[in-house]
Amino acid sequence: MSEVPERKVGIVSCSGEELAEGTVARLAALKVLNELRPRDTVTICLPLFLAGGVGDRVFARLHPTITVDGCDLRCAARGTEKHSSKPAASVVVNELLARCGLERPEGRRRLNAAGQKAVQVTAERLAALVDQALGREAGTTASNDAAVHEPDGDRREATCSCGSGVPVTKIIIDGQAVELVALALIFQQFCEMGRRLDERSQRELFETVKIYNAVPPEAEGSYREAVLREYAAFCHGKKKG
């Protein structure tokens, strides 16, 4: 059975090579991906928003994203918003360190002790934001437990989005063609579960679609109507086929 991709948080790091803070951003992102929240997170290479294909851009629309930047240029945050969608949360390393009263890191290639501390603090902040994005209470996630109990040899590598392909469907909403991601998978899943179009199913179907797609609040009614119309057609087609 086709399944709607599990909801995960995409971590986008600037990885800025020119500053130690860029190295902090990169290592903090990797710490979250590999150790703190391995089951809840995936990563996306920032440049892939430009160089990658539709699948790469769609990936970030499918998952809520948290960006981590080394400096005020906020390349990851601005780039993600420009080429994909607005991040659920953003962290800027130098701002975070200033708020915490911590020293600036040094050593863009090999971080000094202040840099190592900065990685820890930034990673913990990111992990808390991941929990928030997934609607969980901080520190109580299953992935936390996994990180504690899994031996080092079983640690997962960061999951990369390279080549990820997520189906996109174009539907007409208020006379405009709109791309919705994972719609076919969601329909397939609801259909195979035997869900009819009663009020509860309608609500749950649309809420599921909203998890993976940004729906403008002012157009929610139109989106809902269009999605339900498409689902009815999908089910009808299944019956005939």
Binding site: S13, C14, S15, G16, E17, E18, G22, R26, L27, A29, L30, K31, N34, T43, I44, C45, L46, P47, L48, F49, L50, A51, G52, L73, C75, A76, R78, G79, K82, R108, R109, E157, A158, T159, C160, S161, C162
Partner: protein, 142 residues
């Protein structure tokens, strides 16, 4: 920082999802910090992606060495899009094919083989730049 006409800009992809991305970053540091510190300047790809005017101006004006960790060739694509002169486009995988004993592992912390692969790549680029009489736009991968 004022740059001479002969300064090369070095743009690694720094891909975060695979060890090959970390090799690009390490190789760029080898090249810019140790092998050719006087004649190279590291430029963060993230800045180019965002359209930072200073970073784009550097790439538009100076010959670039791009180092990529996967087939998407993000760094090379970006520099080509800006239209700056290209000295070398390097794909880590091409170098790895010639040095199969240097299999990089670890993203946060590259293993010794990964660091050696980065060094080999950086030395090859440095040597080829020294040997080059005329830069060739769109030069083949190393």
């Amino acid at each position: 920082m004022s740059l001479s006409k002969e300064t090369l800009v070095v743009v690694p992809c720094s891909g975060i999802g695979k060890p090959f991305g970390s090799v690009t970053r390490e190789a760029a540091y080898d090249l810019c910090d140790e092998l050719r510190p006087e004649s190279t300047r590291l430029v963060a790809l993230a800045k180019l992606v965002l359209g930072d005017p200073d970073a784009r101006a550097l790439v538009a004006k100076h010959r670039a060495v791009t180092i990529d960790g996967c087939k998407q060739m993000c760094a090379a694509e970006m520099v080509r899009e800006i239209g700056g002169p290209v000295a070398r486009e390097v794909a880590v995988l091409d170098v790895f094919r010639r040095h199969k004993d240097l299999k990089p592992e670890g993203i946060s912390e590259l293993n010794e083989a990964g660091r050696k692969l980065a060094r080999v790549l950086a030395e090859e680029v440095a040597q080829s730049l020294d040997d080059a009489v005329q830069p060739v736009k769109g030069a083949d991968h190393v």
